[in-house]
Amino acid sequence: MTDFVINSIGRRVPLNVPGVGSFEPYAGAFQKAGPSRAAGAPVHPRSPQRTKSKVAESLEQAIKRSGLEDGMTISFHHHLRNGDAVIPMVLEALQAMGFRGLTFAPSSIPDAHDCVADYIMRGLIGRLYTSGVRGKLGTLVSSGEAGIPVVIRSHGGRARAIEEGQIAIDVAFLAAPACDAMGNVSGSSGPSACGSLGYAMTDAMFAKHVIAITDNLVDYPVGRNISIPQHKVDQIVAVPSLGNPKKIATGAARITRNPVDLKIAKDTFRLMKASGAIAPGFSFQMGVGGASLAVSAYLEEYMKGKGIVGSFGLGGISGHMSRMLEQGLFKSLFDVQSFDSAVTDSVRNNPNHVEIDSSWYANPFNAGCLAHSLDCVILAALDVDVNFNVNVLTGNDGALRGASGGHCDAAAGAALSIVVLPSFRGGVCSIKDSVSNVTTPGETVDAIVTERGILINPLRKDLIERAISAKLPIVDINELKDKVERLTGKPEPPDVDEGDVVAVVEYRDGTLIDSVCRVKK
């Protein structure tokens, strides 16, 4: 029987996850000090030799030569979005070759990959380390039927875990939209171009063995935009296709016309303005959700009008952000993940659009990640609670249906972190007494903006004063919850078995911020 403790925000977490190891409980967003020594990147041992090609005959041959054994750790990136065919392709080959009990450690799992659930049931996957768990996989894990350890990490936390050696990648299978015969990889050209390969860069740096999988083997060298250099790539596999180009190359998201989202966006922008954040040298991150994207439209107009030039845009980069770069509204974009294909051209052609790896993006324990230089971030949420804790992982029934992403990283790093969400969604109030799962602790959330008012964290007295001076519609979070629940009704808490933990949620520093319990049938 595993021992449980209550962490500093009152969540019950195990001290040990069988099959994974021991964990410390979360003690505060900036309480844990970094390790005195990181794992260091393994060398890629081979005798010095002249070679002109690392192209393997087949995926099977490359897997055999990689030295992969049962129980080892494999990684993938999720830059091809829902168009990705590389994860299913490799898992199918590994299953056919008879592998068992592998640790599956992708940067995240695209929504479309229900096959992962099947490979857990068939014994190929024996441990799961990921950012997100959705769809069929979410149901399988939440029901307790998966029966394997599951650790959920943020993007910054994953980079940290890789550098510290908690995720020791044996073989990285990296989809490569463009690749030459020596393994220089670019994400921003070819039929499966996706833009930045930020998460794959970290894997390539720290994996013992790297296999690049490409549908676009180009003449040497690949070109100027090298995401992953040849000295990190051991083998190359050429395949006819990396996936469905239509789902890889999603168009730029449009600005919402939903009046609720627009009201939230407008008040968010007013709060940003009142906070004094929007000044020359301003740095900014946002998502592509309805309200977030609309905030950037207000921001763009304002910065243009006032002649304000920001310093950098960060994170998952949307088409809208790359347009702001083009207009000179930001000096640089640091891009760990391109949200849509509208960004690809900017990555390829704009020298101020910089591809960054996930450690540079958000690892709390390196010598300075970009997230810690952010002035403002706009984040979405599934729901929040009266202590400003944010859940982006579990639904109202307590089942896994989301991804941690860079949420807690950016919230902790930014001087002003704003969560945007409608006051109720699908007939359920978005503000709970206690969220079913904490991804981002309330101490790192400065404000929550809903269409029914702005909720400011009592810890931010300075922000409250500024918002009052600007005559912004501030509401007490408990009062708003009661008011909205009078409209929607008060939901019953999720019916979960507290004694049966099906997944643990790491905070970015590696401590456990929460655990996900089995949802009763």
């Binding site: 109202n396 029934d397 109720f424 969604r425 699908g426 007939g427 359920v428 409209l487 929607t488 009704g489 008060k490 939901p491 019953e492 808490p493 999720p494 019916d495």
Partner: protein, 93 residues
């Protein structure tokens, strides 16, 4: 108090998001069937609310099927009341 049974089928609402589709049909006793994404968290609330509405109309027999697409309480209440009234229309003076 008269005891009224639902004797014909009637419905109200839609399956648009944030709405609900309520269908009332004849049955020997009160039966409530609540479905939708919020089933787990709002089943008890919805059943109590439906029984209360049926009591207001003195209905003692009838089946109420509610397909909830994420409706707020006031919408649910309005749809249930309308469906019941439509089913009882023939009886109203």
């Amino acid at each position: 108090m008269p005891e009224i049974s639902i004797s014909k089928t009637a419905s109200a609402g839609s399956v648009e998001s944030s709405d609900c589709l309520v269908t009332v049909t004849p049955a020997d006793s009160i039966e409530i069937d609540y479905s939708g994404a919020n089933k787990k968290i709002f089943e008890k609330r919805t059943e109590a609310m439906t029984r209360a509405i049926l009591a207001e109309y003195s209905v003692t027999a009838g089946r109420v099927h509610i397909q909830d697409q994420g409706a707020i309480e006031i919408t649910l209440r309005a749809r249930i009341e309308t469906a019941v009234e439509r089913a009882l229309e023939a009886r109203l003076p």
